[in-house]
Symmetry: C3
Subunit: 340 residues, 3 copies
């Protein structure tokens, strides 16, 4: 069961064009396309007549025609033409979903449309802020979204999963983050002064021998990570002090369940240095892909083990504080929704 009344990232802006784009979200096949004004339309990707996928259909103006029996639906999901009959029964419609496009992400609301308030959207303006540059990343996890959320709530895995990419010293794993429990997620403040630079930092700044580094972020319902991270030569004060000359990032990541066993993962790593050089952006993006493939490998391993014993009782550790709170918040919200 998924939380419905919240905004989910459905796609990167450039994934959705005039063409018909199919993606399953929350176990629900969705059709996405842009109308002639460029507005994104989101409809159930299933004709209400005989369940043929509308994504196998045809754009006609702002509408989409099912290419099984020719039913035509407008962007609101209303059927506007049944070729074989004059009258259109009122229940002849597919569900349309509220959509908001903002800063390169297309957000969708799968719950009660009355409650789809754009004010609830988190701020991820770094994705299209001219002072920052990033590429669009996408990956499909073969895992339940909460396993991916667990991973994102606890960066102590950096030293073990990512020793050659974004991780580094075991000291960083041992650094104790500050965990703030939020109503809609968790805020994590993590930093270490005078640490060995992470491998990717060594490549970008080979002359740096030691750094102050930080990963400060919120991880919010239903799975959005917004992060201030970076490294600066040691002694410049790190997270709490000056960031002059720092390598700074504003990571934006979002997970959206595809099904109970698979998860969409959208990610970007905006940086504000070297932004005139596309090669810098490309290299930073590649580090992310490499690191997230490492995550995917270990998370798929977890999935494989859980399949043998889905009820296995994990041994909780102190390091699980953030992920436990996030799971608690999600469970609470899902339960409340079920009761309402």
């Amino acid at each position: 069961m998924f939380l419905k009344n919240c905004w989910y990232v459905a796609a990167w802006s450039d994934e959705v064009t005039d063409s018909l784009f199919a993606r399953t979200l929350l176990d629900t096949p969705i059709l996405l396309y842009r109308d002639s004004a460029g507005q994104v339309v989101a409809l159930d990707d299933r004709c209400c007549h005989r369940t043929a996928p509308l994504s196998l259909g045809r754009r006609e103006g702002d509408c989409v025609r099912c290419m099984y029996h020719g039913m035509k639906f407008d962007p609101s999901g209303r059927c506007v033409e049944i070729p074989m009959q004059e009258t259109i029964p009122p229940q002849t419609r597919v569900r349309a979903y509220p959509v908001v496009e903002r800063s390169r992400w297309i957000w969708i609301w799968m719950g009660d449309p009355e409650r789809a308030d754009p004010a609830l959207l988190p701020d991820h303006h770094w994705l299209d802020d001219p002072a920052w540059r990033s590429l669009s990343g996408y990956m499909l996890h073969q895992a339940n979204y909460l396993q991916v959320a667990d991973n994102l709530c606890d960066f102590s895995h950096f030293s073990f999963v990512h020793p050659e990419t974004v991780g580094g010293s075991v000291a960083y794993a041992k650094s104790q983050p500050r965990i703030e429990r939020l109503d809609n997620g968790v805020r994590i403040t993590r930093g270490l002064d005078n640490d060995e630079p992470a491998p990717f930092v060594k490549k970008l700044r080979p002359e740096w021998k030691a750094v102050d580094r930080w990963n400060n972020y919120e991880f919010l319902v239903p799975g959005v990570l917004l992060m201030d991270s970076g490294s600066v030569p040691v002694g410049r004060g790190g997270a709490g002090g000056s960031r002059e000359g720092a390598l700074q990032f504003r990571g934006c990541q979002a997970i959206t369940p595809e099904t109970a066993r698979t998860t969409h993962y959208f990610f970007a790593q905006p940086h504000n240095f070297g932004i005139e050089d596309a090669e810098v952006t490309r290299k930073i993006h590649q580090v992310l892909i490499d690191a997230f493939e490492e995550d995917r490998h270990i998370i798929s391993g977890q999935t494989r083990m859980l399949a043998f014993d889905p009820d296995f009782r994990m041994v909780p550790l102190g390091v699980d504080a953030a992920l436990s709170h996030f799971r608690w918040v999600m469970n609470k919200r899902i339960r409340e929704e079920a009761e309402a």
Copy 2:
């Protein structure tokens, strides 16, 4: 659950030879072969001893020997040899099924053999009538047989699924067929005068600018379509008038469940023009294959969507009259069989 007491097409005549041929029908693995007199034998493809497939066995005379422990069965399914012992317990047998071979189709009766009356077979003599020519078509649908039946009960999809093959104008979709509810299926009479020729008709007769066309057929339990279809230059009277110079067909199609999720589809398109020219027959057959691949694509899409929500309530339209009646007949017959 499938209807048992009826004839199903098991194979094309030329699929079954002296060799052992395995095909699953109604979720039941069946072994087919010809005895020395050329008679088709149909047995459960499962040795009664330890369930090894008889189709991995060996023909010996008119019998088949299981190549696990050497049990030998005659065409009636009776065990006639157990190499390791003299006595043969009477329950040592596999089930044999009544079979009738007629006009290139091998029919099988999976229910009570007492009721297997060849008089119940429909007439499809066009498959081997010397005045008509056709090739043998076969396809496996990744869908429940009723989805394929739906497709065959309603040709309004021609204009949307088959615009480049057997379909054509939207006007044809809008033409109102006459639906006659039969005890064992449905009779459909559909035609349109002064219509644009279907794409394949344009290729066969490029000089024809407008035609009277028709698709008149019965779709009978458990899924047999027998059709009189064709096109004739406009004004010659169409279905009700003269067919002089017409392109005429006697489509013979049958669907047989392989499992609840897969369906055998046998098809041919006998024609009575240009029958001395094998290339004409080949071209007509290719049109059918192309068109039925189009059907398979959209039907697989349906299957994919139904998997997300098997209980989805479809919105019924007037155009569903024939398929609704066919489903009603099938359900009724299956229910009666279960109660008997």
Copy 3:
């Protein structure tokens, strides 16, 4: 459900090295590796913290470190380091399994470790007796282990499944074995004097025209076959008489469930002739592989048929005496374990 309190073959000795080796046994993922003294360690291949596979981890001394969050476990399964905290909760451990390595086989005890008595191990010293030579065979069956056990309990299938490899005349299928019911399995004594040599014997000894042959073996819980087999020129007395000049073998085979639907199969065919010639050993091993692929083919066919009707009632024959007793013993032992 599997029998737990017994020894299973987990691997060939040379499969397990300093590296981390993952194998699923009895539906349980197991990690195997050797410590610095060469002793085999067997642990649950699942970190107790967040279920990541330990086999994706790293050997560190005699320990293994989970490469998700860095938990380190010693060969007893005790957690000896949690990088992110000082105290280690006592429940932080993975299960370790008793292991005995003997004569090239690594045995594992998946039940109550208190009862893991090496004295219960059967004698298979031929695998490393200097007077005998063999290669290590492994195969994964796509079948429940009892289907493989059935196959090994009844060699009447030799004449039908293996006519070109280890089988031969139908007379051998008809020879009546002596079946002795044991508390922990079955003893089978089977031989035929003046029989046609098996195909592989013909290749090894083309000059032999007729032989006395025998297959005498025990098949023991949970699936260990230990066999004295061979052929000798006719008239030398066969199983009961002189074996001078015989081709003699001491087959060692073991099946271990991977899951309920898949089965590990370990096999070797020690021989005591031509042991100085590696090519002889290689040829004998190849015959085994060829023959067991034939078994795998027919057993997979069984599996395929059983999937259609798992409750199919097989017709029992006299030839099933040994397999019926073995299944009865296994069921009894499993039931007793469940009740205890």
